[in-house]
Symmetry: C2
Subunit: 214 residues, 2 copies
């Protein structure tokens, strides 16, 4: 399906990747507009006009509406293209998938991001993404690693009970968890612990999906 | 409207208040089950079985389904009781309200919470809500206050352009912003700056709604 949508994104951005996989799973093709984070293009006036928070990704609709924040972009796509729902079909499914997707973000994705941003030499006064500069706090690096350890332990318990993060079916919660793990592996050299057999089984199965190369 | 729902909550919890106001705006009456955070009742086995993250609030449905995380609870209520939608009616409205509600949370509510939890004497090893204990980091208190200042400045700019946080209509984003401000005022003694005339005008108007005493 070709939609008249533009996704402002960066190939190296894990938040962008959450949306790219979501689109691929739904079979929606959009126009990708690259934003060069290395060249600080997200702070240029042209991009700030589209996303005042100056973060990627942003989805821009045909009428010019700009949608920022990954869960809001996912929400739009699942509402406007209801085939292959990734956020659930019934009221209960929608609530539980949103709950689990959020937990993966708050307990996994956000701690990995916080650790990376508080230790990267190039982000000294950019410890939080967005329009405001905040100095790094070194103590957040150790705490972040502890939180990632707890994330793996909790996810192992969950996937020992259910085949997918939100329960019996694949959903957006799996996408966020998977991107979190690749991000932790690549940016923190903190991959899935060998003993986490349930996570390893689930991860292997997801890598066979074509969308996960997006 | 009387729904056969139970809300496990605490009167002093700002996250619980977000849901109480949401319910009142929609005119839904639920059974409230108080959880005594002062007595650490959220860590008791009975509550952990309902919400493994051990945080309030949790919405429990007639069939026993337990929904945690405020935005997920709001989602369920707006789907199951579509009258008086607070998360939008069209795909675009739903996405933009979710985006703005999330920004109020990430840029306002979360920094206030982080500041409170990292300085309260009674929360030394409980700097993050949830099942895992993390030590306080004093540097987060100063940074948190700076973030709350930036939140007020950004909200003043937004409400100078639009009557409500998400645009022309009242929505869940206003509830989260309002609860954030009361929380900052009461817990950090950081109320709306006198010069923020747009926020003051909006805040005054919201206090006249009956739901905001919930």
């Amino acid at each position: 399906m070709n939609a008249d949508l533009k996704l402002y994104q960066s190939n190296g951005s894990p938040n962008s990747r959450r949306v790219r996989i979501f689109l691929a799973e739904k079979g929606i093709t959009v126009t990708q507009v690259p934003i060069d984070l290395g060249a600080r293009e997200q702070f240029a006036d042209a991009y700030a006009a589209i996303n005042p928070r100056r973060v990627v990704p942003t989805l821009v609709l045909e009428d010019g509406t700009a949608i920022g924040e990954v869960p809001a972009i996912m929400r739009y796509l699942d509402e406007a293209f209801p085939e292959t729902p990734l956020l659930g079909s019934t009221s209960i499914e929608k609530a539980l998938i949103q709950m689990w997707e959020r937990r993966m973000e708050l307990e996994g994705f956000a701690p990995v991001m916080e650790t990376v941003r508080n230790r990267a030499a190039g982000l000294k006064d950019r410890a939080i993404a967005g329009p405001h500069g905040y100095a790094q706090i070194p103590a957040l690096v150790d705490r972040g690693m502890a939180r990632v350890r707890d994330f793996y332990a909790d996810l192992e318990a969950r996937l020992g009970e259910q085949p997918f993060v939100a329960g019996s079916a694949f959903s957006a919660a799996d996408i966020t968890a998977f991107v979190t793990i690749d991000f932790a592996t690549n940016a923190l050299q903190f991959g899935i612990p060998d003993t986490d057999v349930a996570i390893l089984r689930w991860y292997e199965a997801l890598t066979t999906r074509e969308s996960f190369s997006a």
